[in-house]
């Protein structure tokens, strides 16, 4: 289960006001030119920046940001600190705040860093991201363009800039950025994808098809591409191809190779940060690394049921069933209402043949979360397999109420009826199942067996 939080959200109006204040205080003393590295501001003229309230953050994150801030303060107080060292110290605080999702708090640190070290590309680049995520496209474009002047062929900057132009309804400008990115690094998938989007926005469907097909050829995992590709085929009148691609539509996004942002993602300490890194490792199939991150997260936040449950999941995927059971048990001991841990325990118990205990776990899971379809379905299956078809029928019926799509519940219900020798009802249920779920062979197979059984009787 993903714990990804929704996108960053900030109020644009307030953001603009803050920017104005910061810009007034830090930038007027510089004369920003494209590549000059000799226009650093006098550090003593930079206004002081305070930290936001860190009190509700993880202790480890508070400590980390606090330490970085104190380090910055000592460099500021030492009048002999070279401007570029001071810039990096400001930037380091900004990085931590940005990694902690405190974009507005990060902004003045980056602005100071930029003022002190105008030749460094990272500061306008990070500012570009700050503004992009705060839905301030004009400022984001200005910052990314400044970063490009310092590093003209930076692919990540070009792709992000192109994406912003697309979002602003300017596909022609977007295409120029993607073209430049492809010129700098031929075949880069994110730029090909951007070119496809730009072509689609301009209703140039053949060109769009061409680009999107190149994306899929280069990276078949980029399943999100199938949707715009389908729309491009639809634009060409080729509905069959469109539908073929829609059936492959997925959620794997395409982003540019972005070492600077990757660096940020690895910065933060703290339980949630470890959890996020663990989830990324889990998603990429690296269960051992995932378990390591989750274990660190558990050490930092032992009462967080979600992280501990994920640790158990990673351990089970590594084959360490005993370790997994211990983590799931500890999760429900500390958080008795955490239904997923009961469910996971139930699954492991069922696999090891401890049916009654598994039934108890699944029952507890649905007690705390009545709409938990998987848990209720497993409960029903186990009840049926344990010779309790009447009880199973009740659970299957509830699953079908909660999720009418659940073919497994419909099938299980019919099988429980067979166990109860209620053959006519079972026959009707299986026939219905065949009609509603024609793709599921088990309904037809069971119906054939049922008819054979009735024939014998």
């Amino acid at each position: 289960m993903s714990r990804a939080l929704w996108s960053r959200r900030r109020r644009a109006g307030l953001g603009a006001a803050l920017l104005l204040m910061s810009a007034c205080s830090s930038e007027p003393k510089t004369t920003p030119t494209s590549t000059s590295q000799t226009t650093e501001v006098d550090p003593s003229t930079l206004p002081a920046i305070t930290l936001p309230d860190l009190s509700q953050m993880d202790k480890a994150v508070q400590q980390q940001i606090g330490d970085q801030y104190r380090s910055l303060q000592s460099l500021i107080e030492s009048r002999s600190t070279p401007p570029h060292d001071l810039a990096r110290a400001y930037g380091d605080v900004g990085n931590l705040l940005m990694a902690a999702d405190h974009l507005e708090a990060a902004e003045p640190y980056y602005l100071h860093a930029q003022a002190l070290e105008p030749g460094e590309m990272r500061w306008p680049y990070y500012l570009g991201h700050v503004y992009m995520n705060r839905a301030a496209p004009a400022k984001s474009i200005a910052s990314f363009e400044r970063a490009l002047r310092l590093r003209p062929n930076d692919v990540a900057t070009l792709v992000w800039l192109g994406n912003i132009y697309l979002d602003q309804g300017q596909p022609e400008l977007a295409a120029m950025q993607f073209t430049q990115a492809l010129s700098a690094q031929p075949g880069v998938v994110a730029a090909l994808f951007g070119q496809g989007r730009a072509a689609l926005a301009q209703r140039e469907y053949s060109r769009a098809v061409n680009y999107f097909e190149q994306v899929l050829a280069a990276d078949p995992r980029a399943s999100m591409t199938h949707y715009p590709l389908a729309l491009a085929y639809r634009g060409l009148g080729d509905t069959a191809r469109a539908e073929a691609h829609l059936s492959q539509q997925g959620t794997v996004e395409i982003g540019p190779p972005d070492p600077l942002m990757a660096e940020l993602r690895g910065l933060l300490e703290g339980a949630v940060a470890e959890e996020n890194r663990g989830v990324r490792a889990l998603d990429s199939g690296d269960f051992k690394t995932a378990a390591e991150h989750f274990r660190k997260g558990v050490a930092l936040a032992p009462d967080n049921p979600s992280i501990r449950h994920k640790l158990g999941t990673a351990l089970s995927l590594m084959g360490d069933m005993q370790g997994a059971v211990e983590q799931f048990q500890e999760t429900v001991r500390r958080s008795p209402g955490f239904a997923q841990a009961h469910y996971s325990l139930g699954v492991l118990l069922a696999v090891s043949g401890r049916r009654q205990e598994a039934i108890e776990r699944f029952s507890t899971a649905v007690k705390y979360e009545p709409g938990y379809v998987e848990a209720r379905l497993r409960l029903a299956d186990l009840m049926r397999q344990s010779g309790r078809p009447d009880a199973a029928l009740t659970q299957y019926a509830q699953v079908m109420t909660i999720d009418p799509r659940a073919a497994e519940a419909q099938f299980g219900y019919a099988m429980a009826l067979v166990q109860l020798k209620r053959y006519d009802e079972a026959h009707r249920r299986l026939t219905e199942g065949m009609s509603v779920h024609p793709e599921r062979r088990e309904f037809a197979d069971a119906l054939a067996k049922l008819e054979e059984l009735r024939g014998r009787q």
Partner: protein, 533 residues
């Protein structure tokens, strides 16, 4: 707000504009929540209670209007249970009086209007007491039998007692994302014409796909004369259920181009409305989304295939800084082109507000966009006129529901905004009446002898207003759309400066078409099925 970041507390409320007492003006229903921790304790908790306010509109001889509302909840017999989310309105029993369907976190409630100022809770006997968490619902006549059926848009499986803790990357507690919880299937309930409904979710095919539904809008998207259903889902692909004319539906969301953003990503669909913003005779779709995503405009080619024009229209980029909820296509200035308004409010803490010690750091401003009018290339950009909208648009609030309708009967569309953890706002339109207009109530026959009513509102009827410049404005009688809210079912069409009487063509939900040529301008007219030519 209880300080525990209960997910359900940031989702509501909605509101309704309806004429429950048939006195010709719109009354107000406000949805309310209650204490979620008390609900979670298993105690028998009475909700704060949805409130019904009667509109005692006074129109003076000089045309000025005085609005006054009286809380009639108690005499009305409306006793809402649990934690209120939203409301849908429609005359499900064809007795000429508008009934109420209240959506809840927990069993929904259907209140039958007794046509005497009171309501009766008929949830159980009508079999509409869906126990899931419902936010938006819609009354629609999907089988063209003259009786309103009910689409119930269900959201997520969530309970206070098993609420999952969530936090930001820094570890600060915050509201969860919807993908932490399981979506619940929506329901389609068929009207049996006897005060009861039958759940046809599986038989109709609606059960095949579902997501966490937040917004519902029903319209005839492919022009075949049968009502279709569009569902905005939170973080999962939206669905466009095309009516197959045999009681079943097929989801064409993906192929139609309305399921995802243009680059294939599911957005957090919240509010939705369908309307013919480009006056080309078909229903276009507008969906409000999460901060960082921008709202979406899907432009219909008339066959039910759409092109996403969010960025090109300017509606997408300008809304990226906002989390949009209630919305509608409506002609704010009666110039004949549909404009749009969204009420906004975040669903996770806005850090800048928290730093200012704001006790409820989710508030955002509303957005108002003016339609620029005709542009055959389709590249016209909406104009952000929020700053010119008046004092109400300077307020920053946690907007959720919005109901649209002419509450002072002066010929333009006003807006009732339902705020989360805040006062509702009634925005009175001060510019629409500067242009000419026609107002239509689309009605069929009712045989309510007891109450002396012989008309009933017909939802889903389409109206073509043929102006003297040759342009036909297509509008639809509807109460659904927006977010968790119910709109005025009357149709207002702006005529600009024209004083000529337009021709009016009505396509009734049963497929018949009638015309009227003597509809007066600048007033409301009742168009009754069978009275046209």
């Amino acid at each position: 707000m209880e300080g525990k970041f209960y997910y359900a507390e940031i989702i509501a409320p909605g509101a309704a504009l309806l004429d429950y007492d048939n006195d010709g003006d719109l009354d107000v229903l406000l949805v309310q929540g209650s204490r979620l921790s008390a609900l979670g304790s298993g105690k028998n908790v009475q909700g704060s209670g949805d409130r019904l306010f009667r509109n005692d509109l006074q129109v003076n001889a000089d045309g000025t209007r005085v609005l006054h509302f009286t809380d009639v909840t108690e005499p009305s017999g409306i006793v809402s249970r649990g934690y209120g989310m939203g409301v849908a309105t429609g005359d499900f029993n064809n007795d000429g009086c508008t009934d109420l369907y209240l959506t809840n976190l927990g069993p929904n409630q259907l209140f039958r209007n007794n046509c005497n100022g009171t309501f009766t809770d008929v949830s159980k006997q009508s079999k509409t007491d869906d126990p899931s968490w419902t936010v938006s619902a819609s009354f629609l006549d999907y089988d063209r039998d003259g009786w309103l059926d009910l689409f119930v848009g269900n959201y997520l499986s969530w309970r206070a007692e098993s609420s999952t803790p969530c936090s930001t990357p820094s570890g600060r507690p915050d509201y969860c994302s919807p993908n932490v919880y399981q979506p619940q299937p929506s329901r389609l309930l068929h009207n049996n014409h006897d005060g009861t409904f039958t759940d046809v979710t599986v038989a109709s095919g609606i059960a095949r796909e579902f997501g966490p539904a937040l917004g519902v809008s029903t319209a005839d998207f492919n022009g075949d004369g049968w009502i279709d259903i569009y569902v905005a889902n939170d973080g999962q692909p939206n669905q466009l259920w095309m009516n197959q004319r045999d009681g079943s539906f097929k989801n064409t969301g993906l192929l139609s181009g309305t399921a995802l953003s243009a680059h294939g990503k599911a957005k957090a669909g919240m509010g939705v409305d369908a309307g013919d913003f480009d006056n080309d005779g078909d229903e276009d779709i507008f969906v409000t989304n999460l901060t960082g995503e921008g709202n979406d405009l899907y432009v219909n080619d008339g066959s039910g295939l759409f092109e996403e024009r969010s960025a090109r229209s300017g509606l997408g980029g300008a809304s990226r800084g906002y989390t949009g909820f209630g919305t509608a296509w409506f002609d704010i200035d009666n110039d004949g082109w549909l404009d749009t308004l969204t009420v906004n409010g975040a669903v996770q803490t806005i850090e800048a507000l928290r730093r200012e010690n704001d006790p409820f750091p989710l508030h955002q401003r509303k957005l108002l966009f003016r339609n620029p009018g005709a542009d055959p290339s389709g590249s016209a950009r909406f104009e952000d006129v929020t700053a010119r909208g008046g004092a109400a648009f300077e307020l920053s609030e946690v907007g959720r529901g919005a109901a649209f309708g002419d509450i002072d009967n002066d010929g333009d569309v006003d807006v009732l905004v339902a705020n989360n953890n805040g006062k509702p706002r009634l925005l009175i339109n001060e510019i629409g009446a500067r242009n000419h207009w026609i107002g239509l109530r689309l009605a069929g026959a009712s045989q309510n002898v007891v109450a002396g009513l012989n008309t009933r509102d017909i939802l889903g009827a389409r109206v073509g207003i043929v102006r003297d410049d040759g342009v036909t404005l297509w509008r639809r009688a509807r109460s659904d759309g927006s977010y968790a809210s119910a709109n005025d079912p009357r149709v207002i069409a702006g005529l600009g400066q024209s004083t000529r009487t337009p021709r009016v063509r009505v396509i009734w939900p049963n497929g018949t078409t009638e015309e009227w040529t003597t509809v007066a301008i600048d007033r409301y007219t009742l168009l009754k099925e069978g009275d046209g030519t």
